[in-house]
């Protein structure tokens, strides 16, 4: 009593890279725009506020780029030596940067000269950041110290001297104005609390730490150093959550996607890897031309900016989705059509008779259900189907063959329909997955249409094309067999299992045999 069972469409595994949501998402960017900087790009930072400009630190300059501009809209170049780590404040109005000479400079975005200069570090300052309350600046330097500065009166408030090597990275908590995290070449990442004057948590990374990142919630900390990216659970007192080793050179920069679902890491091995923050598995990876030093994502992942050691800044913009909107403009049924009758509340004396849900059937299934076999075959021979999903066409042909009506369905076609059928054969006959059934179809067509050959130049041409294809394929198979024979000789000397090779051998033989039979037939036909 079961209803009509639709035809099973044979699915074939898609070879190559798996298509997932992530690959689709991360491949949906335009070709990168390359901008040449003066030196290695050590830091890229996006302004958190619209219009989402970004500051690029390279050599002794800081360039501010607009979203789509290839030329800097502003340049801060008043550094005596290399500048480091130009970072926007949360409101996007102030910019702070360290420099090789140990100075920390604060700029107004609209101005040119530094607003404040914080003097106190004796060596290069590689990392600076604003605290969550916006009024303080944190800086870490090669003199092993971490300092907290007050912006209004440009004074040093605190100094932490707990690190025993260069402090090269750090960040302040976005939630708590008193918390800051620094990573150092002494292999440790320390979390400081400005209220206690000392580190509250210290974790051992194992390698010189190149980059640290706090999750927006502040509960998780990511540190990168050496080939490792490690994730720490700060709420458990700095327990190691996961250690990732997916790069084969030092990881230099970390970045979170705007949704917080994906973590990106850039490395000297010229790759950017995308991790899922749920499972910490690599879901995608990008390749770049040179070793990557810095990486930033714009608001809503609109732009990926990567800075490299050779001074090239690569900017990728997301493809606009305007096209999609246009196509989905088609009017859909209103909401009430879907809930029609569904929200009826059963009254006391009512007997509810639910209508059996209607199973959706494809058009060809409807035809097959009613035994309209030629119609069903016509439907799957539409160019739309044959080009996009040839497996559907082949499955229907197989089903017709199973029902024993394939010859009936193939017969009685005019020139146009026949050439369409022959086109499909020419396109797909040589594919091993379709070959067994399509060779059958080719034989049947030749049998059926042999009497009318020579009546239509279009069809004759198609037949000749098919013949050429079959000949070519036979030559090809013969060559393959020769190669296999040679390889078998080689393998026989190494006395291993030859099983897999004999397997292929057989299938090829089969293909060849059947192809030759088709060839003979088509030859007799063309001769006549």
């Amino acid at each position: 009593m079961a209803g009509y069972k639709p035809v099973v469409i044979q699915t074939y595994p898609i070879l190559g890279e798996k298509i997932t949501q992530d690959t689709l998402y991360w491949n949906n960017y335009k070709t990168p725009v390359q901008i040449k900087e003066f030196g290695a790009v050590s830091k890229v930072d996006f302004s958190p506020q619209s219009p989402y400009n970004y500051a690029v630190t390279a050599s002794s300059r800081i360039h501010i780029y607009g979203r789509y501009s290839q030329e800097p809209i502003k340049t801060f170049s008043r550094f005596k030596d290399t500048a480091y780590c130009a970072t926007f404040r949360q409101d996007g109005k102030l910019l702070v940067a360290g420099s090789e000479d140990g100075g920390v400079q604060l700029f107004d975005i609209s101005g040119r000269a530094p607003l404040r200069q914080f003097e106190g570090h004796t060596k290069a300052v590689h990392t600076v950041d604003f605290t969550a309350d916006k009024y303080h600046v944190v800086s870490g330097a090669d003199d092993y110290t971490v300092k907290l500065w007050d912006i209004p009166n440009s004074k040093e408030i605190l100094t932490f001297k707990e690190h025993s090597d260069y402090v090269r990275c750090g960040c302040a908590s976005k939630l708590n104005p008193d918390l800051l995290v620094t990573g150092s070449y002494d292999h440790t990442v320390k979390m400081f609390d400005t209220r206690t004057n000392e580190s509250v948590i210290s974790v051992e990374h194992g390698q010189p730490v190149e980059s640290v990142l706090l999750f927006p919630s502040g509960g998780l900390l990511v540190s990168a150093g050496g080939r490792y990216v490690k994730v720490w659970d700060m709420l458990k007192g700095g327990q190691l959550l996961v250690s990732l080793k997916n790069h084969h050179k030092t990881v230099t920069c970390l970045c979170l996607s705007s949704s917080g679902q994906r973590l990106l890491s850039g490395s000297l091995d010229r790759k950017v890897k995308v991790y899922s923050t749920a499972s910490y598995k690599v879901v995608h990876s990008f390749d770049y031309a040179a070793s990557i030093l810095s990486l930033a994502l714009a608001h809503e992942d609109e732009t990926i900016v990567v800075g490299m050691t050779n001074g090239i800044l690569s900017v990728k913009h997301r493809k606009s989705e305007a096209k999609k909107d246009a196509s989905s403009r088609r009017r859909r049924p209103a909401y009430r059509t879907f809930i029609k009758g569904k929200n009826y509340m059963k009254q006391r004396d009512d007997v509810l008779i639910s209508r059996p849900s209607k199973k959706h059937l494809e058009l060809y299934d409807r035809d097959l259900k009613n035994f309209r076999i030629s119609k069903a075959l016509d439907r799957v021979l539409e160019p739309e189907v044959t080009m996009k999903t040839p497996e559907v066409t082949v499955s229907i042909i197989k089903e017709l063959n199973r029902r024993g009506v394939l010859a009936n369905a193939l017969a009685g076609r005019d020139e146009k329909e026949l050439s369409r059928l022959l086109n499909f054969l020419i396109r797909n006959l040589s594919q091993p997955r379709f070959a067994p059934i399509l060779i059958n179809v080719a034989e049947m067509i030749i049998d059926i249409y042999l009497p009318v050959i020579g009546q239509s130049p279009v069809v004759d041409k198609k037949f000749l094309l098919l013949q050429g294809l079959v000949e070519k394929e036979i030559d090809y198979q013969r060559e393959l067999l020769e190669t296999l024979g040679m390889m078998e000789m080689l393998f026989a000397t190494t006395t291993t299992k030859e099983s897999t090779f004999t397997l292929e051998h057989k299938s090829d033989e089969f293909l060849e045999n059947s192809l030759t039979s088709v060839l003979e037939k088509s030859k007799t036909k063309t001769n006549s």
Binding site: G3, A278, V283, R402, S499
Partner: protein
């Protein structure tokens, strides 16, 4: 201790349900069908078997309701008896001994004391319709001698005979003839269609006949798919017929709707039930995809239900509006069994090929199909010439967690399509769900399939052996990523041995060794590393069966060859332990013991040998278990172990051996005496329990409630008598009165208790009759208008019963109580 009679081979269940038309009870609540030597009574609402009527000693060939008492059922059988049954209670009422082999049974309403049966007299192919007078007698067994001849040269099948228009005439068809016999005139008219020599009418043969319930109209079905409606057949010259043609193949059965006869039902090989309205070609309705050829159609006397019997041993109950409402499915038998007999480790159900492309799970305990698993999942095209996809192999693995199936389709020699499917058991849906589909797992036919069933094995492993000379090892691999969780099967290893065809494969009990036979050679592989360990070759023909010993005999490997040699190898010494000449056709190990059963074929019949591999002497031998070839056999673990003490039967203690013969009868061994039948222990759900509440139910419910009340009263009486030896009137009074009539419990409680403590306050005997009189008078005064006779009787009855209550009541209270009771009684009688 079971008394040990000699071991007998018994047929166990799975008998045909579609042998004859099913018959509805008068109220359409039950449906009867013949099933081997039994008659089965099913509930149409629940599909449950309510009764099995035992009694006939041979195949039951016909059943009909007794036209004079619709609670009784006639049945006839090859054993020459007609039996009368009370089907509600499942009791045999009477047996009429006719003496001939009875082939079909008919009853007609107006001939009260006689029934019609089909018998064959002299030649094997000529049958006669005779009327048998059933003598009235009180004894259980009566000889019915009065046989009067009605029609000669008729078809054996009851489909070819029909009684029309309240039994005025009978129509019978055979080959190209339609004969009509009129009872009143006692004449026969015969109509002949043009014979087969004419090419146009090559398939004009009659196949079935049906008579209109009201009009003089006979419908006949033909082999070419036509239906002819005959009218005016009382005249040999003026008769006419009209043709209805939809079926493209033989019409298997016809039936008119009972009440008006306005619609005609027909069915055939297309498995589509066609309803012709008003006997016109245009007005027809269809119920398609019934699954298999329709063999019989029957209509309930009330006219609200139809039912169709199908060739796959199934009865479908269909509503008047052509909606299938219930399916009664027996063991499907009409196909070749390729998969053999298997046991589902979960349900202990027997698993084998079912409907085309399906695997059926059949419960041996309840003789019922549990469910069908659609393996092929393709639309089934009902065409005799078509080559269908065959389900050739199946195996269960990992305690029923996995099921592997192989299906093949071969149209020509070179074109072989193979598909292997792996099904995972889903606990939520309690069924198998397709997990992996492998197309063309091998280049050639798959000959064997086995799972590694060792308990310790962490990874499920499957081995397939094929004629292409390879065996492949498939393992379950984790295929999940962050987007989805998935497990699938992949090929792990491909093995071969000198390009011989692999014919069998078998895992040892602990899963450490795999034995694969390549034609004459048995190879042993290590299942860890897939290294070839050793080979055995006896040069005694191709290996047909292969199995490892179990438990204490696990060091032995058994192989049966085509040259009738059974070999036993010792795996420790790698030598032949023993061999014997035995033509083994079936070999199966018992999962619960070391025993192995082997069935050998000879020209006379099949013999069973049960043996342990370690001992050269068989445990048990039974010669000639079946005349036919035995195709498959399997041990099924018993739910409750038996306790045979005698050594010969000990092998049956923990498992039972079932086997399937060539004619597809399922047989087993029983040591019980023939009287103790293998009765299925099915719960007998009655129809009432699970009836849905429809408006009809509420209307009909009134009658039923009354019946129930009576029943409850009767029950109440019995219950009272159980705890008390004396029949205390107060209690019976209390229980006789319906609950809603009684005053509140608190009001009655003290009175009731007091009534039980009557010893002290004993009244004198004279006072009582006075009391009664007085009360009677008063009562008549109270109720002038509703002074029923019945009521009075009731009251007088109850008074002497309830005297102990009464004397405790004040007058006003008494009045009150009486009033209450009267009012309510009148209400009930009004109903």
């Amino acid at each position: 201790m079971v008394e040990e009679a000699s071991l007998r081979v018994v047929r166990c269940g799975g008998s045909e349900l579609n042998f004859r038309r099913a018959v509805f009870s008068a109220d359409s609540k039950y449906i009867f069908c013949v099933s081997g030597d039994f008659i089965k009574v099913y509930s149409t609402a629940t599909e449950e078997c309510v009764h099995i009527l035992h009694g006939h000693s041979d195949l039951v060939t016909g059943i009909q309701l007794n036209p004079n008492n619709h609670l009784q059922l006639y049945s006839c059988s090859f054993d020459g008896t007609i039996k009368l049954w009370d089907y509600i209670d499942g009791i045999l009422i009477k047996t009429f001994i006719v003496g001939h082999k009875l082939h079909a049974l008919f009853t007609v309403a107006h001939t009260e004391d006689s029934v019609f049966v089909t018998i064959n007299k002299e030649k094997p192919d000529t049958f006669q319709l005779v009327s048998v007078k059933l003598p009235k007698s009180s004894s259980q067994e009566i000889k019915a001698k009065e046989i009067s001849f009605v029609l000669d040269y008729i078809n054996q099948s009851p489909k070819c005979i029909a009684f029309g228009n309240k039994g005025e005439y009978v129509a019978a068809v055979r080959d190209f003839y339609l004969s009509v016999y009129f009872f009143k005139k006692k004449t026969t008219s015969r109509f002949t269609l043009s014979s087969s020599r004419n090419k146009k009418h090559a398939k004009n043969n009659f196949t079935c006949v049906a008579c209109h319930p009201k009009e003089d109209c006979v419908a006949s079905g033909h082999k070419d798919g036509k239906i002819r409606l005959w009218r005016n057949f009382d005249d040999d010259k003026k008769y006419t017929y009209t043709c209805l043609h939809w079926h493209h193949d033989m019409v298997m059965d016809l039936a008119f709707s009972v009440t008006e006869g306005t619609s005609l039902l027909s069915g055939g090989r297309e498995s589509v039930l066609v309803e012709w309205r008003n006997a016109t070609e245009k007005n027809k309705e269809f119920l398609p995809r019934l699954g298999a050829t329709i063999e019989h159609i029957s209509v309930s006397p009330a006219g609200d239900l139809f039912c169709t019997s199908h060739s796959d041993n199934k009865i479908v109950v269909i509503h008047r509006n052509l909606e299938a409402s219930a399916v009664i499915q027996g063991l499907v038998k009409d196909r070749n069994i390729f998969t053999g007999l298997m046991i589902d480790p979960r349900t202990r159900a027997l698993v084998l090929n079912g409907k085309p492309g399906h695997l059926q799970f059949y419960s041996l305990q309840s003789d019922k199909q549990l469910y069908n698993l659609d393996i092929v999942q393709q639309e089934y095209i009902n065409d005799t010439n078509l080559i269908q996809i065959e389900l050739t192999k199946a195996a269960f693995g990992c305690q029923g967690h996995w099921l592997a199936t192989v299906e093949q389709w071969q149209e020509k020699e070179t074109e072989l399509e193979l598909q292997m499917k792996l099904w995972a058991y889903n606990k939520k849906t309690q069924g198998f769900i397709l997990n992996t589909k492998v197309s063309m797992p091998h280049e050639d036919h798959i000959t064997a399939l086995c799972f590694c069933n060792a308990e310790k094995s962490e990874n499920p492993t499957l081995v397939t052996a094929s004629k292409d000379g390879h065996f492949k090892v498939w393992i379950l691999t984790d295929d999940s990523d962050i987007y989805k969780k998935a497990v699938g099967w992949t090929c792990d290893f491909v093995g071969s041995y000198h390009k011989y065809q692999a014919t069998n494969c078998c895992f040892s009990e602990d899963g450490s060794l795999l034995a694969v036979s390549f034609e004459e050679i048995v190879t042993i592989w290590d299942s860890e590393t897939w290294e070839l360990k050793c080979t055995f070759c006896q040069r005694a023909g191709k290996i047909r069966h292969l199995c490892f010993g179990r438990l204490t005999c696990s060091k032995y490997l058994l192989g049966a060859t085509e040259n009738d040699i059974l070999c036993c190898w010792n795996l420790l010494s790698c030598t032949l332990e023993w061999s014997t000449k035995l033509n083994v056709s079936v070999m199966g190990p018992d999962p619960n013991s070391e025993n192995i059963a082997a069935i050998s074929q000879s020209s006379v019949g099949s013999d069973l040998f049960v043996f342990k591999p370690s001992e050269p002497r068989p445990v048990y031998i039974q010669k000639n278990i079946s005349r036919e070839e035995v195709h498959w056999g399997v041990f099924i673990p018993r739910d409750v172990p038996e306790s045979f003490t005698s050594e010969a039967y000990q092998w049956l203690n923990r498992s039972q051996f079932y086997f399937l013969t060539k004619s597809q009868s399922l047989l087993t061994f029983s040591a019980k005496s023939p009287e103790e039948k293998l009765t299925p222990t099915s719960k007998q759900l009655l129809a009432e329990e699970s009836l849905p509440t429809t408006p009809f139910y509420f209307i009909l419910g009134k009658h039923r409630q009354q019946q129930d009340e009576k029943l409850n009263d009767a029950l109440g009486n019995e219950l009272v008598q159980l705890p008390l030896t004396e029949n205390i009137p107060a209690i019976s009074e209390l229980l006789h009165t319906p609950a809603h009539v009684l005053p509140s419990a608190s009001f009655l409680c003290s009175m009731f208790i007091n009534s039980l403590l009557l010893s002290k306050e004993s009244k004198s005997a004279e006072e009582i009759p006075d009391d009664v009189d007085m009360e009677e008078e008063k009562e008549s005064e109270d109720s002038d208008e509703e002074n029923d006779f019945t009521e009075k009787v009731q009251d007088t009855d109850s008074i002497d019963l309830g005297e102990d209550i009464m004397h405790q009541l004040s007058k006003s209270e008494e009045k009150e109580l009486r009033k209450l009771r009267k009012v309510d009684y009148s209400w009930i009688t009004a109903l």
